[in-house]
């Protein structure tokens, strides 16, 4: 029967090509608009480190006090003083601190021109905490942090650029006139949004190219290439040392805590730390600390651009209108065949069969709409750079799940939209139809 209904449906759709085309186009445009904006939205709102996002917390300590802080919230990163003290305390399973650097890199051989590479000054725990995959070698050791060693980890991409992808572990790289020994090459790793450096607005930045020990970077006075926030009433102006040990915040700190109990005891430790600062006279206010996990932090920092949300909602609204349109057209189409339904019913077809017949027909419209939607989505992916800024547009891509979803959404939505017209069709009274003919 199914194949028969498919044939019937196709014949009926061919009989009114304009109406059919209109329905298919409405579904196609509606589903494409939704899918394009959805692909952007899912990219910017996704969990960057699934499975671990509830065990990683960023640590915030209010070093400004109620008069100068942001409506009660501590600043969005830590001072050098607090960051190094908290990491040295080792109260979490793992803890890391980082800042954005942009050293000039001089490739081997004097012919090549130097270029600027983006990276982070951090510590050995960084790689384990954030599950950074390695292609060659591995992270440096905690002893390298303590020894302020001149070592570096470079990314797969930078390794391609500098060493043509060869195993470069043990070779040297020159950054800002200092040489570093490469201990590891990461595999491609670029979590989006880059949750660990929202402070510098790098949520969707270019992939990181290198990492070096925080202690070493501070020693060679490598300046932060990220944000430096000195708040409102802080006189930092007395040279680098004064700035380093002053109250400007520029160091994000992350800790790994296995469960809620660990988080609770870390929060207590943090409160204790702030209380200690109050006792020593550095803070003149009660402890005001925060421990935010990855999703909480993404939310707090409003990582998803409002444009992305608005466009998704507008696209969904658009799709709903297309569906309302389809309901109306299907209703017209089905009711036009009241006589035909009457004959079928009079010949003994139960209502169930009428449902089958018309839902199959609607499903065919949905499928056609889905295919058109897929073409439009693919086309839209090419034009998505017009609608969103490049660093966000490049995150949107047409993958298998999006293809499946486009077709599925189109068919399911159309069949759902067809329920009311089909219900009306199934209620056709055979006697009336036969009489009036």
């Amino acid at each position: 029967m199914f194949a028969y209904y498919v044939r019937l449906g196709l014949r009926s759709l061919r009989r009114h090509p304009a109406l059919t085309a209109l329905m298919v186009m409405a579904i196609g445009f509606g589903v494409a608009a939704s899918m394009i904006t959805w692909s952007v939205f899912r990219a910017v709102s996704g969990d960057p480190i699934p499975g671990k996002s509830s065990q990683l917390y960023t640590v915030l300590v209010d070093n400004r006090g109620p008069q100068y802080n942001d409506e009660g919230e501590p600043p969005e990163a830590l001072t050098y003083t607090d960051a190094t003290a908290l990491v040295a305390a080792h109260k979490a399973t793992r803890q890391t601190l980082l800042y954005d650097v942009a050293p000039s890199v001089l490739p081997e051989g004097n012919q090549s021109l130097p270029f600027i590479a983006d990276g982070y000054a951090t510590n050995a725990d960084f790689f384990g905490m954030f599950d950074v995959p390695f292609e060659y070698g591995g992270p440096w050791h905690a002893s390298d942090d303590e020894g302020r060693a001149a070592v570096a980890v470079i990314s797969h991409e930078l390794n391609q650029q500098l060493f043509n992808g060869a195993d470069s572990v043990g070779r040297e790289i020159t950054m800002d006139r200092h040489t570093y020994r490469i201990v590891g090459v990461t595999a491609h790793w670029d979590p989006k949004p880059r949750f660990y450096d929202l402070f510098s607005g790098n949520a969707f930045g270019d992939p990181v190219q290198l990492y070096l020990p925080f202690t070493r970077a501070v020693d060679v006075q490598m300046d932060t290439a990220g944000r430096n926030n000195c708040g409102s009433n802080v006189d930092f102006g007395a040279g680098r040392e004064a700035w380093l040990h002053g109250e400007c915040v520029w160091v994000p700190v992350w800790v790994e805590l296995a469960d809620q109990a660990a988080a609770k005891s870390y929060r207590e430790f943090l409160t204790h730390y702030a209380a200690e600062q109050q006792r020593s006279g550095r803070f003149h206010w009660a402890p005001n600390v925060r421990l935010r996990d990855v999703n909480d932090w993404l939310d707090h920092m409003h990582v998803v651009p409002p444009e992305s949300r608005i466009s998704l909602m507008v696209a969904l609204g658009f799709f709903v209108i297309c569906l309302v349109n389809t309901i109306g057209l299907l209703l017209a189409k089905f009711m036009r065949r009241a006589a035909e339904i009457g004959v079928r019913r009079a010949l003994g077809a139960p209502r169930r069969e009428i449902y089958h017949q018309f839902l199959v027909e609607a499903g065919a419209v949905g499928l056609a709409g889905g295919v058109l939607g897929l073409l439009l989505t693919a086309l839209g992916m090419l034009g998505v750079g017009l609608l969103f800024e490049p660093e966000i547009a490049r995150l949107a891509h047409l993958d298998l799940s999006l293809v499946a979803m486009t077709l599925l959404v189109a068919i399911v939505a159309t069949v759902l939209a067809a329920f009311y017209p089909t219900w009306r069709a199934a209620r056709v009274q055979p006697a009336w139809q036969l009489k009036s003919n």
Partner: protein, 410 residues
């Protein structure tokens, strides 16, 4: 016109009526808000920067060897002399940032040294005596910096700007009575006051995000070269020679010293590119809303055509009877136009409420402005006209139904 029979007839195809009205309502709600967003975004995009955009470009030079501050300072001065000597260049100036750059250095501005909360926030543009001429921005009061006033500053040192030039909007914000010239303000976190020696005409800050709209025209020119790991050079080409100057300038800089990095992709940017980058989100949003509005109106119109055509087909016999009983073609045409107008009115009524509701919700969610009623009124008119236009073809077809139809197939 006979409204009553139309209403009676509508009751016989409630579902179709409701669906068309619903579609009109939803379309109105979305199109009103989309048009409003387009207007908001294009208004932001067309804000003036206050600089000579047609002839201006910027070069970013990173110091490859990260040399010490003294050497950077010497190099910067040599670079500037080289740039200013180019035939295609009118003037050049060093800076840390510029209007519409996006990121940059902004400081709290205070009127008193011991003030707890800032008076306002402003962009810090490190400048020299050529900066105003390079930007093409005029002073409306006071004087320019002199060469002897230009200092050099390392990024982590205290900022001692004894004199500053500020933008018109900042002056207005700080001293609404217009007496800013000659007054002192506190532009850095330090305690040293800065005297306002000049006030520029409109000058936009580096911030282009909407959260910073309140500070978008607050700029402070600080008389110093900032000795950072990199510097920007603002270069103003002679009229019509932008392309040549953009080509010559990096070459001249490399001739000065090769220990620098000028990024191949965006190391040299015309101000047109700067503007385009700054408003990428706004432009994209406006384009998307435009596409959605056009397609939505087209689909709604097509839907009305489709459903009305069906009704006309369904009622050929009744139309024939009416014609046989003496109704003119005009009566039939009027009937369908009026029917559509009634449905449209119902739709726009609901749609107007929905449009305002959606806007109010967006105001709370996205810090958007309140929808102006003009947009709702315009949307209502557009949709009613669209409905009438869409119904015209099927209605004309209905009016051509011959009275003979009444006698057929009985």
């Amino acid at each position: 016109m006979q409204i009553k029979p139309i209403l009676t007839a509508m009751r016989h195809h409630k579902a179709g009526t409701v669906l068309i009205a619903l579609q009109i309502a939803l379309t109105l709600a979305i199109v009103c808000n989309a048009l409003f967003i387009i207007q908001q975004r294009t208004a932001r995009m067309s804000r003036p920067s206050g600089v000579d955009e047609a002839n201006l470009f910027v070069i970013r030079s990173d110091w490859a060897d990260k040399s010490d501050a003294q050497r950077i300072d010497v190099q910067m001065q040599a670079d500037l002399i080289a740039l200013r000597q180019l035939g295609s260049v009118q003037d050049a100036a060093p800076t840390n940032s510029f209007p519409l750059r996006g990121n940059g250095w902004d400081n709290y501005i205070k009127l008193q040294p011991d003030q707890v909360k800032m008076t306002t926030d402003a962009a810090m543009f490190f400048s020299d005596e050529h900066t105003l001429a390079t930007l093409g921005t005029h002073l409306i009061a006071g004087r320019n910096f002199t060469a002897s006033e230009i200092g050099a500053q390392r990024p982590r040192d205290a900022m001692h700007a004894a004199q500053v030039i500020i933008s018109k909007d900042l002056a207005q914000r700080l001293y609404p009575d217009g007496s800013a010239l000659g007054k002192t303000i506190y532009v850095s976190m330090g305690q040293a006051p800065s005297t306002i020696i000049g006030i520029t005409d409109t000058l936009q800050a580096h911030m282009s995000s909407s959260w910073a709209d309140a500070y978008a025209y607050n700029a402070v020119l600080v008389p110093a070269r900032l000795l950072n790991d990199y510097t920007y050079y603002l270069v103003r080409a002679r009229p019509g020679q932008l392309e040549a100057a953009m080509h010559d300038a990096p070459k001249a800089l490399y001739a000065q010293s090769r220990m620098r990095i000028i990024d191949r992709k965006d190391g040299v940017m015309s101000f047109a590119q700067v503007r385009q980058r700054a408003y990428e989100r706004d432009r994209g949003m406006a384009i998307l809303m435009g596409i959605v509005s056009v397609v939505l109106l087209a689909i709604t119109a097509a839907g009305i055509v489709g459903l009305t055509s069906f009704w006309v087909g369904q009622r050929r016999k009744q139309i024939g009877v009416r014609r046989a009983l003496g109704a003119t073609r005009g009566d039939i045409l009027h009937y369908f136009l009026t029917e559509n107008l009634l449905i449209g009115l119902g739709g726009v009524l609901v749609g107007a409420v929905l449009a305002i509701g959606i806007n109010l919700w967006m105001v709370t969610q996205f810090e958007m402005a309140r929808l102006s009623l003009a947009y709702v009124v315009a949307g209502v008119v557009v949709l009613l006209l669209l409905g009438q236009g869409a119904v015209l073809a099927p209605a004309l077809r209905a009016s051509r139904v011959s009275p003979v139809e009444a006698t057929r197939s009985v």
